[in-house]
């Protein structure tokens, strides 16, 4: 066993370097042979901070360049127990909040030298399968912006895979979270509505099991109460545009007299709501109906909508999520942290004086 395994490969024993067989990629052994050094030296050249002399580094790098050598991340992962892969769980549903988050997170991960392994998750059953997949791939961490049950979270915890929740968390459990708390802004916006003479509002909320929706709805309820605005109706949607349109119809059906303001729990539904109001119910927005919402996705500011909405600082939140995953990977036993960002009101053109 004194010989390196590579010596069994076709190579003249006199040390002459033979060309790589077509398609085989250069390994650290190939580079070592060409540079006339040991494989360990090659390895160390590619490890920042390793003990290596300038001369050696130069020789190795030259050989590496010649062979177009790049360390094999898979093999590295095997030995270091770090894959540098992070599973990112998002919903594929057409709620355009997700792509924005996803792209931001991917970018931030890339900056930190990590790769995003993308999973789309629609239900908790999906999450089940996804978690197993992620586990097989030895992901260093999981950023979850989509469904995940408590049991599933516990499983990941037990397996010591750090999880960062993006805009969701389990109150009963310590967990690492990035969150946007728009309480303040909700209050501002509702006060604005009040000042504009609104006394009756409708609410379009999200799925029952969705925590963001529940929280936002709670804040809205509180603020409405505090401002003396009556909630005349509450209907449930699923965050999509379509459920915004049907939501408004539903409100229209359930009330004898339409409320003067609609609060939607996310922008997509608000857009559906606005379109429905204008093109089907023949209402003018904001003259006849004011609409406000949450998220502040890019689209919400298109001239057709110009929503008054409460923006989440997605960029900062994504950055935070990646930082936190990194930290938890480095120091898994560190205690959990919750980073809560404020929202910000984007004053749009979707609210106005209440009609009399």
């Amino acid at each position: 066993m004194a010989n390196s395994p590579r010596d069994k490969k076709p190579s003249k024993s006199d040390g002459t370097v033979i060309p790589l067989i077509k398609g085989r990629r250069a390994t650290s052994y190939d580079v070592a042979r060409l540079a006339g050094v040991s494989q360990s030296a090659v390895s160390r050249c590619f490890k920042p901070g390793a003990s290596i002399s300038g001369k050696m580094r130069e020789r190795v790098m030259k050989a590496a360049k010649e062979l177009e050598y790049q360390p094999n991340a898979i093999a590295r992962g095997l030995i270091t127990q770090r894959s540098n892969l992070v599973a990112v769980l998002v919903s594929g549903r057409l709620n355009l909040y997700y792509p924005e988050v996803l792209f931001k997170i991917t970018e931030e991960l890339a900056k930190a030298g990590l790769q995003a392994l993308l999973f789309t998750v629609e239900t908790e059953e999906d999450a089940e399968a996804v978690i197993e997949q992620a586990w097989q791939y030895q992901v260093d961490g999981v950023i979850s912006a989509s469904h995940m049950s408590q049991a599933q979270y516990k499983l990941l915890e037990k397996r010591q895979i750090p999880v960062v929740f993006f805009n969701r968390y389990f109150a009963e459990h310590p967990n690492t979270v990035v969150f946007c708390d728009p309480a303040e802004q909700v209050h501002d916006v509702v006060k604005q509505l009040q000042a504009l003479g609104h006394r009756r509002a409708g609410l379009i909320i999200g799925p029952e099991d969705n925590m963001v929706s529940r929280e936002r709805a709670r804040m809205v309820d509180e603020s409405l109460k505090a401002c003396g605005i009556e909630k005349v109706c509450e209907v449930r949607g699923d965050f999509t545009y379509e459920s915004g349109t049907s939501g408004l119809q539903e409100i229209n059906r359930q009330t004898q007299e339409m409320p003067t303001a609609i609060i939607c729990i996310n922008d997509m539904m608000a857009m559906g709501c606005m379109d429905e109001a204008r093109s089907v119910l023949g209402l003018e927005v904001p003259k006849d109906l004011s609409i406000v919402s949450f998220d502040g996705i890019g689209m919400s500011q298109f001239a057709s909508y110009e929503l008054t909405t409460i923006r989440q600082p997605i960029g900062r939140m994504s950055e935070a999520a990646v930082r936190m995953i990194l930290e938890r990977v480095e120091r898994p036993d560190q205690s959990h942290e919750k980073r809560v960002f404020e929202g910000a009101v984007i004053p749009g053109g979707s609210i106005a004086q209440a009609p009399s």
Copy 2:
């Protein structure tokens, strides 16, 4: 060397199974030990179609379940030379065509047991870095829906990494491609414009280096010529909403008299264009200005826009792309294939009789 390496791990030599040290994941050796079989047997149990008896499978599976064993995809990848990872290159720019494609592709990959390694690419320099990353991760293939130079493609080819291009290709090179060719539909739409009395059209195209834009523009030019519609103006955008708004402004500036129809090379720009026409230039769409475009993204059918657009069958195209990657991975020497899908006109409310 007669002992399995695992025997060096803390385990009583009498064969008693000791509990896993906290956090260490079970390996095939652990399962083998617990089940009293060899590691190879365990491995074979998880390989579909391997030669194994029912009794053996049962025993192993029981032990595997107990230890929550799942094969380590990283280690497997190392020995099989297949990572089951596919790099997906998209643009992170706010062109909402990408998220749709991305989510579809991810879903299809998952069905085939592959994982999407997500990369956002804005420029060819980005592509450079991304290709190196992908190479390090031993991806089995690349699906590129974003920037990639010919040199970069050649590099991947040389490294024997199959590439499937999504809506782009190099004419000078054999390559595997999924493409949407809307020539027929362009002709239909332009004829419709003609029938509606349009004689002067403006064109908002995409970046010069973008092949989809070039091709679409070429088809539009041809059809316009064939239908006797004059192209009064052509301005360049970058596929974003904003470049649609500024594009229309530019057209307004460049022409003494506005054209009666605008053809946008993608939906996002068309939406910007439409909003600008309505809210800034005070034009009614479609009464004063007809707008048509390409892609058929979800948003384009929102009631505020209802674009007449030429849809790409993204679902089928994504499925095809994944199939093709799989095929090329299985049989790398197979000749290339180009799958060309027709577009489909979505008749919207964004065109009407030309004003006199």
